[in-house]
Symmetry: C2
């Protein structure tokens, strides 16, 4: 997925994998993408997707990615294996795992497929919101290191700000990599996990949280992502339900010209 | 999960597993849950969840389930293995696979956890719709066998009916097992896959489709499911986007008194 123009971006360094043989790689966590505990989950998931995209038997482009965060990832090296569980004529199902000291700290399943032209319709309406250039960049001083790798411009639902009165867990935010980087599946998968946890927005405070499982459906193909360039994309995230120690979060990612790039869902542990 | 009152229900026969040793089972497809090709995916996923729930090392209750349909399941026997990939203090991550002739035909990952009381809020509004008793049972003559195991009463978005003008892929349907069966995680997971594919609703015609990946988040615990009894539950399903050979589908499952039981998402292959 990487090309020369993006290879030196901090994100590409964070997801970089050194081959240890067919379907096996070694990587290491990046200080720049550190979170409160361990690395930002978005880069961990993007690293697993990068393994799939680097696999010599890869067929097609990502359609679906589910990442399960099983244990805190320690700072330092990790190993990754990716294995096509099943290869069909035009689609492929993947298992990917990240281990440290032979313990699985994160795993993923993915579907890749050869996309083809079909009937097409986006039923969801593109939100009517101000452009990124009309909004201020959100100040991230004092926030974990990973946040400084993103330029976020909130329409509503900013961290510790005023919740949207109609939907108090809703955030709409123009976001891009900082420094700017051309959009691809790797960066889009990380952007899908770059929303602050909905409980922070809904309760206007920080509480202990951890994503346990994150699923992303990719609606755009590689060419459409390339055409988005390094522009901001619009993320719109909300929760349906909080309770009994977990909440869900659903979000849409839109290009500036109204193309639905991805929809993404996660379930998050919380203490409150 | 099963008890004597439900064990003889056709669903329980469809998901039944005979132990072959720790973490290994054999089952067989049920003619009553046959679909156009192979069995109804809802029972296949429910069978994999049943393996997790039957595992001697199980910790807690289901929070998340992702099922990947890798190949058509042939009529007849299948083997299932379930393995806790990681067990934490209060949560557990699972790998489950169904094989036929040593080929993986379906696999799943799941998260189970000990749920506990926390701050609670359902942000999504419970739809204002007529009660199940005020609606007619949808006629399923000529539809695949599995549909006859459900009592469906459509508010809108019925199969090959009049699409909802505001959201043409939306269906709202009161649904329960037929014959009635007390709700539990197994039956709820199958109900989450019992919506007709959104492309059938949106285009008012049948086209070739196949779910490739299905994720369900369970918001209710076992006691809340028990309290729902064998009542109809309200499903509300829609698509965000159709294109390049795939569409997504998101749905909510509500109890009659407005409890959000589960939210569920899938990505589906289609030809059109």
């Amino acid at each position: 997925m990487n090309n020369n123009s993006t290879r030196n971006h901090p994100l590409d360094q964070a997801v970089a994998l050194e081959s240890l043989g067919p379907g096996r790689w070694r990587g290491h966590t990046s200080k720049g993408y550190a979170n409160m505990v361990g690395p930002f989950g978005g880069t961990t998931g993007a690293t697993l997707l990068n393994a799939v995209l680097s696999h010599e038997e890869l067929l097609g482009e990502p359609v679906s990615l589910t990442v399960n965060f099983t244990a805190p990832v320690a700072d330092g090296n990790f190993d990754v294996i990716a294995r096509p569980v099943r290869t069909n004529r035009s689609s492929q199902h993947w298992w990917v795992e990240m281990t440290q000291n032979d313990e699985v700290v994160t795993f993923a399943t993915a579907v890749t497929a050869r996309r083809r032209e079909t009937w097409e319709s986006t039923e969801l309406a593109f939100p009517q919101v101000p452009q990124a250039s009309d909004l201020e960049r959100f100040a991230l001083e004092g926030r974990p290191p990973w946040t400084h790798n993103y330029d976020m411009r909130f329409v509503d639902g900013a961290l510790l700000g005023e919740p949207n009165p109609d939907e108090p867990s809703l955030s709409r935010v123009w976001i891009r990599d900082e420094p700017a980087r051309p959009l691809d599946f790797v960066s889009l998968s990380a952007l899908c996990d770059a929303f602050f946890p909905r409980i922070f927005i809904r309760r206007s405070k920080l509480v202990p949280i951890g994503t346990v499982s994150l699923t992303t459906y990719f609606h755009a193909d590689q060419q459409q992502l390339q055409e988005t360039g390094n522009d901001h994309i619009l993320g719109s995230a909300r929760s349906n339900h909080f309770g009994k120690g977990f909440f869900d979060q659903s979000a849409e990612m839109w290009s500036r010209n109204g193309l639905l790039l991805a929809t993404t869902h996660q379930v998050v542990y919380f203490k409150e």
